[in-house]
């Protein structure tokens, strides 16, 4: 690192805002995509928009690549550092700046942890709706970068529907203040475009987020099936019947076993081949009307038990089990490859079958826990990353799963993003022209392509744009 640049950054951030020593940089070398690693040259931890902007101006002058990182819980390598690059972490941007109860929005710094916002507004009868499984750790800034989802996005929509405004520091270090809560964008929808752009257009430092009213009644239902097939068919039936619960999730037997063997012990019956976890919310009459739709459908599909969570404690336990399922899978093998793909909801059963067959054909152990209502599959493959040959089989299975989902009219990612993980697959879905348009839009923000380079868009597509 250039000593002059380092001196300048130190002047802005002080010693506490710089992570220089190698052993202290190691925790930043990967995100949840553990097999992709790169040590960052330097880690910067600014405390606010101004520090971020001043640092980014210096990095712009020195043409240094930048990767932004929230909590590093992303699963597609979106926060994997790049060679000779600097990493900007948001871990010192943890302030909730404003809560406007009457107008139902909050302004927060990017490093605020997802669940902390909901806790902060709980007493007001409000919550922040997107709830990724990692919500106890992941940051709201990271959620914006990835347009994160979560079980309750079935009803409430992914992050993008909850972002009212942003303060963005551009790759040139300019501050773009789009923080005002707006109904419709003024000019182009830059906030909407930025959300989900995987940290490639700039760094969002402050977020204006929509808060949702806590529903008066919430019921969690558990439908137990002997077979995973039946649970999948039941979800297609629910969509067909226009049922609108707030969440429709499936856990298969292997996941149930792992959760029940872990500290979470959520109370999922081990004799079930699959569990359908449903949540209904609204006024009492709305919940009752929803329940009347789902009960006969679930029973007709062969559920051997259908019951409501008895009390809030059981409800909390069931959701903790669902959201902690990835961690619980650690009992099966040291590493977990969480595939993320979306398929048409009327084809759930055939695609879940196919993805399972793909893994089994490669001698791999797969567990399914997924957002069934959105058609968002998560085949989770257990492996040991120290076993290179096994890792190769896992990646091969991942590719085959994506190809099967695309062939069925699906797509590459429902909520984890493309990052490094699926960059090669982008050309399976998009034409050269599609990708070139994305490159051009990106270059309007970042002509040098210094923000999170080498992610999402295959390099070849970008090169072609330039020529």
């Amino acid at each position: 690192m250039d000593p002059g640049l380092l001196r300048g950054l130190r002047e802005i951030l002080g010693e506490a805002g710089l992570v220089e020593r190698r052993n202290q940089r190691v925790p930043y070398e990967c995100d949840g995509l553990a097999f992709a690693r790169q040590l960052p040259e330097l880690v910067l931890l600014p405390r606010n928009t101004d520090e971020t902007a001043r640092c980014m101006r210096l990095l712009d002058e020195a043409h240094v690549p930048i990767v932004a990182r929230g909590a590093g819980t992303g699963l597609s390598g979106g926060a994997t550092p790049v060679e000779h690059g600097v990493l900007i972490g948001t871990s010192r941007m943890r302030a909730i700046l404003e809560i406007d109860e009457r107008n139902r929005f909050a302004r927060v710094q990017a490093g605020v942890v997802n669940v902390d916002l909901s806790h902060a507004v709980e007493q007001l009868g409000l919550f922040y709706a997107p709830d990724p499984s990692s919500q106890k750790a992941c940051t709201l800034g990271g959620n914006v970068a990835e347009n994160s989802g979560g079980p309750h996005c079935f009803r409430h929509g992914t992050t993008t529907r909850h972002v009212l405004g942003l303060v963005i520091v551009t790759p040139q270090g300019e501050v773009l203040d789009l923080s005002k809560a707006r109904a419709e964008p003024e000019g182009l929808d830059l906030v909407g475009f930025f959300t989900g752009s995987e940290g490639m257009l700039g760094v969002a430092t402050e977020l204006t987020l929509r808060l949702t009213q806590t529903p008066p009644v919430v019921e969690t239902w558990l439908a137990l099936f002997r077979e995973l097939d039946e649970a999948c068919e039941c979800v297609s039936d629910l969509i067909r019947a226009r049922a609108e619960p707030s969440a429709i999730e499936i856990l298969d037997q292997l996941t149930i076993e792992a959760v029940e063997a872990s500290v979470l012990r959520a109370g999922y019956p081990k004799e079930a081949g699959a569990v359908l976890l449903l949540e209904l919310e609204g006024r009492e009459s709305e919940v009752a009307a929803q329940a009347r739709i789902l009960e006969p459908l679930v029973r007709a599909r062969g559920a051997f038990e259908l019951r409501r969570a008895r009390d809030p404690a059981e409800r909390t336990r069931l959701w903790a089990g669902r959201k902690g399922a990835y961690g619980a899978m650690g009992r099966v093998a040291p590493d977990l490859y969480v595939c993320d793909a979306v398929v048409p909801r009327r084809k759930l059963r055939e695609l879940v079958r196919e993805t399972t067959a793909i893994c089994e054909a490669r001698g791999l152990k797969v567990a399914n826990v997924f957002h069934a209502g959105d058609g968002n599959l998560h085949p989770n493959i257990s492996y040991d990353r120290r076993d290179k040959e096994e890792l190769a089989r896992v990646l091969d299975a991942g590719d085959a799963i994506l190809k099967a989902c695309l062939a069925a009219g699906g797509t590459l990612s429902g909520e984890h993003g493309i990052g490094l993980e699926k960059i090669g697959a982008m050309e399976w879905l998009f034409t050269r022209e599609d990708l070139a348009a994305m490159c051009r839009a990106r270059e309007a923000w970042d002509p040098e392509c210094r923000m999170n380079p080498g992610k999402l868009i295959p390099m070849r597509a970008c090169m072609e744009t330039r020529t």
Binding site: N103, R104, N147, G149, C153, T160, R161, L164, L176, A181, R182, A183, E184, P185, E186, G187, L188, D189, G192, F193, S197, Q213, P216, I239, R242, A243, E244, G282, R283, S285, E286, A288, A289, V342, P344, R345, R346, D374, G409, T411, L412, S413, G414, E415, H416, I418, M426, L429, T431, D434, L435, A437, M438, R440, A441, E443, A444, W445, L456, I457
Partner: protein, 347 residues
């Protein structure tokens, strides 16, 4: 150099070239012709004003163009699997057609807007037109799942898809939605659909309906449609309740009001309300936070439609001359996606 009309007639035939005021108006019959016209414009350095039925042209400040191009002949549903809850249709398809088709399968199409028989899907998306059902479902841009578009040089590109959840690639469709045709011409769009309720009830209440807005804001009622329209001596509120039988009954009891109309008649009344209060022609959009509603209402003049939530008001009359200067980044994006400047700028 020949004049634009002659060039257009040579390219697609005189029968498909009419007039929009002083401008020649080309009506390509398919995507191939449309793209050929854009390539022609690129070659001949002509500037194109894309439109559907042209009902929202006055929403944008004056645009300089050599010819207008309508997508209204590009119509029809491309894919509708009722069991999936997604519909894909060509840009020229009217919202009225889409609503009728989806309602038959118990789906609710958002946005619910005025004059849907003269509102094309591509036009609504290009104008970023949210509906009277915005409080319940959110703005239109949240439900555009994917787009196929033609860029200024005639290249066809897509983003998003036909799935309810998707984070694959940049959401280019978020840039295109509400860009008033300045970045691309929309060819085909996929929209997310919602469940249609079993029962509808329409109420039209004189006054500002503060207690109704309050009830809706705190979730005591969840109307499909909630909008204020200006009348001679103030305001009237239009409310379309919808849901299961007992849900609507409960809401009616809560607001202590008998429904004036039910079923299809309720939907017809909602359409009439939308048509009555949505300005035609020049229109300015105002916004405020929910707590600023009173002040916004006091400023409104003429024909006016107000949608609660983060409030938007469509008010009759041209936008003020002192327009917001276009952001540098907007300009850079325009330059990147339409480097030859084929598509007319927004004001």
């Amino acid at each position: 150099m020949s004049d634009p009309r002659t060039l257009l007639e040579r390219e697609i035939g005189a029968a498909q070239v009419s007039s929009l005021g002083a401008l020649p108006l080309a009506e390509p019959r398919d995507e191939e012709q449309l793209c050929a016209l854009l390539r022609l414009a690129t070659r001949e350095h002509l500037c194109v004003l894309p439109l559907g039925f042209g009902t929202k042209l006055a929403w944008r400040a004056s645009s300089v163009a050599d010819f207008a191009l309508t997508t209204r002949a590009l119509s029809g549903i491309v894919e509708y699997e009722p069991d999936e809850g997604v519909i894909t249709a060509r840009a020229g398809t009217t919202l009225a057609h889409l609503r009728a088709r989806t309602a038959a399968e118990r789906h609710w199409l958002t946005p619910f807007v005025a004059r849907e028989e003269r509102t094309s899907l591509g036009g609504a998306i290009s104008a970023g037109q949210s509906g009277l059902d915005r409080l319940r479902f959110g703005p239109l841009r949240h439900h555009v799942l994917g787009l196929r578009v033609a860029l200024g040089d005639g290249t066809v590109v897509k983003s998003g898809g036909r799935l309810v959840k998707n984070v694959t690639g940049y959401d280019m469709h978020r840039l295109y939605t509400g860009a008033h045709g300045s970045l691309c011409v929309v060819l085909e769009a996929s929209l997310r659909l919602f469940s249609a309720p079993r029962r509808y009830a329409w109420l039209q209440v004189p006054g500002e309906g503060r207690e109704w807005l309050e009830a809706a804001w705190r979730g005591a009622i969840r109307p499909l449609i909630l909008a204020l329209g200006r009348v001679e001596n103030g305001w009237e509120l239009g409310v379309l309740l919808g849901g299961a039988e007992e849900v609507v009954a409960e809401e009616l009891a809560l607001v202590q009001h008998a429904a004036t109309l039910e079923g299809e008649a309720a939907l017809t009344a909602a359409r009439t309300f939308a048509n009555t209060h949505t300005p035609e022609g020049a229109c300015t959009r105002l916004e405020c936070l929910p707590t600023g509603l009173g002040e916004l209402l006091s400023r409104a003049r003429g024909r006016c439609l107000v949608l609660p939530g983060v409030v938007t008001a469509q008010i009759e009359g041209a936008p003020p001359a002192a327009e917001r200067p276009q952001r540098t980044l907007d300009r850079r994006i325009k330059q990147a996606l339409d480097p030859h400047g084929v598509l007319a700028e927004v004001g």
